[in-house]
């Protein structure tokens, strides 16, 4: 309880919530039709934001102002939109389920990035490692006829790709960004080459063994919120649950175990870590390889759990969104998971908004990048990377 915000910070957080509420009043299930409600509530949130900003709570104050503006805008748009369209777009259960589906590959890759970057190795090759995972999982599932083996093969492929990155950036001390760029090119070329060589124009087989969904029909019988819970969690892919578990596992590993302490110390101050007897190279190798395995799991989810097949360059920038989520979440497991959910929600909303206009929905796709840019620019709470990130370590 001691970590709950107090004083003006608490007031500002209340302002944020009020701002979000301003957006909700005009949407189902409340569905107020008069523009007065969102405008007034949004203004209240903004006033609280300005007030707490003046009282010194700048960061959350700005959040509250932004939330007020956002609520004002969305709420107003809600009141001018027709009820029929609103009810087609704003189906909360479906939106949240869709958010989880979009967030899952990001969470895996972003957790991978966390391991690598916490150990001091920049990994912009996440995109390529996801792609390797996506292809080899499909290939593995096709050859063995078993999705579980396919998943393992995909993760192995990602791990091997990461091992290449580790060899060049840790042992050869090459520039890590150059290495990551090379990994992305290589993965694109290798998967594209093998895809055409093995499957040709026909594409991957349609009768693949794919990762199953987990059916939780009993949720329906919970009184009150049962319907909603069933819509969100009732029919999710196994790997989505895997991603949720991995967030907790990563948090425990990184912050509560000796291994995590070693990873962090190697990323913050490798010389000191070396002095106390930690093998910097071994830790970095292991961390980078783990990152490849996790990123590949994200790719495998996309190919075996989401679209049931492989297409050239199918990751389409998700590796970079995962990187953005890692930075936005300040190199912390729960932070990045929240960022992935936010980015996933914006993707889900973008799909839903196509009901109104496909072009506006497209613009929504840029949101994760804009937010991350703002975050690194330090306007609202600076992102602070591990200290030794990007620097090769020379043992003396």
């Amino acid at each position: 309880m001691s970590r709950l915000p107090r004083g003006w910070r608490a007031v500002a957080w209340a302002g944020v919530l009020i701002g979000i509420f301003a957006a909700l009043v005009s949407l189902p299930p409340i569905g107020a039709r008069s523009p007065v409600f969102p405008i007034v509530i949004g203004l209240i949130a903004m006033t609280i934001g300005v007030g707490s900003w003046l009282r010194g709570e700048r960061r959350v104050g700005i959040y509250a102002i932004l939330a007020g503006l956002f609520g004002f805008g969305i709420g107003y748009l809600g009141t001018v939109s027709s009820v029929g369209k609103l009810e087609a777009v704003v189906v909360w259960g479906a939106l949240f389920a869709s958010m989880l589906r979009f967030a899952t590959p990001l969470v895996f890759a972003s957790l991978g990035g966390l391991f690598s970057e916490r150990s001091g190795v920049v990994n912009i090759g996440l995109e390529g490692m996801m792609l390797m995972g996506a292809f080899f999982a499909v290939w593995g599932a096709d050859v063995t006829g078993n999705w579980a083996l396919g998943l393992v093969i995909g993760m192995l492929a990602g791990g091997l790709t990461a091992l290449v990155h580790a060899f060049f950036s840790v042992s050869l001390r090459a520039d890590q960004i150059v290495g990551g760029t090379a990994i992305n090119f290589l993965a694109l070329g290798i998967t594209g080459y093998l895809f055409i060589d093995i499957y040709g124009t026909a594409g991957t087989p349609t009768d693949l063994s794919t990762i199953p969904d987990v059916n939780l029909d009993f949720l329906d019988s919970i009184p009150g919120v049962g319907d909603f819970l069933d819509d969100v969690f009732g029919q999710l892919n196994l790997l989505i649950w895997g991603a949720i578990v991995m967030v907790f596992v990563t948090w425990v590993v990184i912050f509560k175990t000796p291994v995590g302490l070693r990873i962090r110390s190697v990323g913050e101050h490798p010389r000191a870590a070396d002095t106390v007897g930690i093998n910097v190279y071994a830790i970095r190798y292991a961390a980078v390889t783990t990152s490849g395995v996790l990123a590949a799991a994200g790719g495998a989810y996309l190919s075996l759990g989401f679209v049931d097949g492989f297409g050239e360059n199918m990751i389409a920038g998700r590796g970079f969104i995962a990187l953005a989520a890692l930075i936005f979440g300040n190199w912390r497991p729960f932070g990045l998971a929240a960022a992935c959910l936010l980015f996933g929600f914006s993707s889900a909303l973008a799909r839903a908004l196509q009901e109104y206009s496909t072009s506006i929905a497209t613009l929504f796709e840029a949101l994760p990048y804009v937010l991350t840019l703002i975050a690194v620019a330090g306007v609202i709470g600076r992102s602070i990377p591990p200290r030794a990130i990007g620097r090769p370590y020379v043992k003396q």
């Binding site: 920049v122 912009i124 290449v164 060049f168 050869l172 001390r173 090459a174 520039d175 960004i177 150059v178 290495g179 760029t181 090379a182 990994i183 992305n184 090119f185 290589l186 993965a187 694109l188 070329g189 290798i190 594209g192 080459y193 055409i196 060589d197 101050h269 010389r271 360059n313 389409a316 920038g317 970079f320 969104i321 990187l323 953005a324 930075i327 300040n330 206009s357 496909t358 072009s359 506006i360 497209t362 613009l363 796709e365 840029a366 990048y369 804009v370 991350t372 840019l373 690194v376 620019a377 330090g378 709470g381 600076r382 602070i384 990377p385 200290r387 030794a388 620097r391």
Partner: protein
């Protein structure tokens, strides 16, 4: 937010900022032309092995590379093949079109490198340049009627400014709050990509007036097209932008080696701390180096639109990798003008030579070959990134052997 407490800089920290540029500077002096050549040979060998494994034939790799060589039109340079309108000439024109683009995106990476910055945002800067050129040469002409030359100049200048401004954002963020330019330029890449998709996508504000169902822009005005000096304009001949790229190489060399700005940029690149003690504004140079880099990439976008694309479509916007190939060009070319020109020729030849249009499908399937190009590009980047280490190890080894011989 924790960990922000000020601490005395560590010994490692002092070497940190100089690392990248200083390392590449060393590379330039140490490796000469041998290391890049070895890198290329190694990558091509690996590519050959891939072909060998796929086809199971020992001659196939050689035949494939010969076909790629011919597909790129490089056989035109052989004295007995030289001709004006034969297939070799047509192929070479395509290669030089790509060369124009890659030279400029390569310079965009190289210039920032010389200031110790890694401009990974060439793609976004190229794209915003293309977008600006399409808007000026297409949409603006609907409102204002400009003669041909001023229109072209305006489109080029606006495109360069757009590219420069985009990269400048990353430069300012680096100079003021220390945000790493790699992160900011990646984010800017994707912001421009989705903005472009919005502008010219179906239902977007600047989507084509005549093809309402296709995600493509309007064509630029006829008078805004660059004139073609070699080949047939209808068959995508070589436009005068080729000379602009040649000129850009000269400008790059002159700026770096014969101006105060270039001196300061290089000084900051070698060691920002030393430069600061010498009275050079590091922040100003970070911004300027990024902005100039962005202008090179923006120029590339404008020349492509005015020279041979004449419009932008969604595939162009979403699948473009020229900025990333620019990284390969700059790394392989060791950030020198001549090196960038030559490396761009290599990558342009590979790209044209393995395209579906130019590679003889009876020798090797072009769909496979274009992926082979990606593999070779990746390998070259990987090896180039590591060869400094090999050089250092060799040097240390040599020194040690000299030392042991003396005692």
């Amino acid at each position: 937010v924790s960990g922000a407490s000020p601490e005395p800089p560590l010994l490692e920290e002092q070497h940190r900022e100089e690392s990248l540029a200083a390392r590449y500077g060393l590379l330039q002096r140490a490796g000469g032309i041998v290391a890049p050549l070895l890198t290329v040979v190694l990558a091509f060998l690996a590519g050959g092995v891939v072909v060998l494994i796929t086809t199971g034939s020992l001659v196939k790799p050689f035949e494939t590379y010969e076909a790629v060589f011919k597909g790129a039109g490089l056989n035109w340079f052989l004295p007995w093949e030289m001709c004006r309108d034969c297939p070799a000439a047509l192929n070479l024109q395509q290669t030089l079109l790509i060369w124009t683009t890659l030279t400029l995106t390569g310079l965009a990476v190289a210039f920032a490198f010389r200031c110790g910055l890694f401009n990974i945002g060439g793609n976004g800067q190229y794209l915003i340049g293309s977008i600006a050129a399409v808007l000026v040469a297409g949409e603006l002409t609907k409102a204002i009627d400009l003669p041909s030359v001023p229109l072209i100049l305006l489109a080029v200048v606006v495109a360069m400014l757009a590219g420069g401004a985009l990269a400048g954002i990353a430069g300012i963020l680096k100079a003021t709050v220390g945000a790493h330019e790699v992160i900011t330029t990646i984010m800017l890449n994707w912001i421009v990509l989705w903005t472009g998709s919005y502008l010219f996508g179906v239902g977007g504000p600047f989507q084509s007036d005549v093809q309402a169902s296709l995600p493509v822009s309007n064509d630029i005005a006829e008078k805004a097209k660059l004139s073609v000096w070699w080949g047939d304009p209808i068959l995508q001949g070589l436009h005068i932008g080729f000379f602009v790229a040649l000129g850009a190489l000269v400008v790059y060399w002159m700026t770096l080696n014969r101006t105060t700005l270039g001196y300061e940029v290089r000084a900051v690149g070698h060691n920002p701390e030393a430069a600061r003690y010498g009275g050079i504004s590091v922040a100003r140079n970070y911004f300027l180096a990024m902005a100039i880099s962005g202008m090179f990439a923006g120029l590339a976008g404008a020349l492509d639109v005015l020279g041979w694309k004449f419009r932008l479509d969604l595939t162009d916007i979403q699948a473009s990798t020229v900025g990333f190939v620019g990284i390969a060009v700059a790394l392989l070319g060791r950030n020198t003008a001549v090196g960038v020109g030559l490396a761009a020729l290599l990558f342009a030849s590979l790209q044209t030579g393995t395209s579906t249009r130019n590679l003889d499908p009876s020798i090797f399937p072009p769909e496979l070959a274009s992926n082979l190009t990606l593999i070779i590009q990746g390998l070259i980047i990987l090896f180039v990134g590591a060869d400094l280490i090999v050089l250092l190890a060799l040097r240390r080894f040599r020194r040690r052997s000299v030392g042991s011989a003396a005692t």
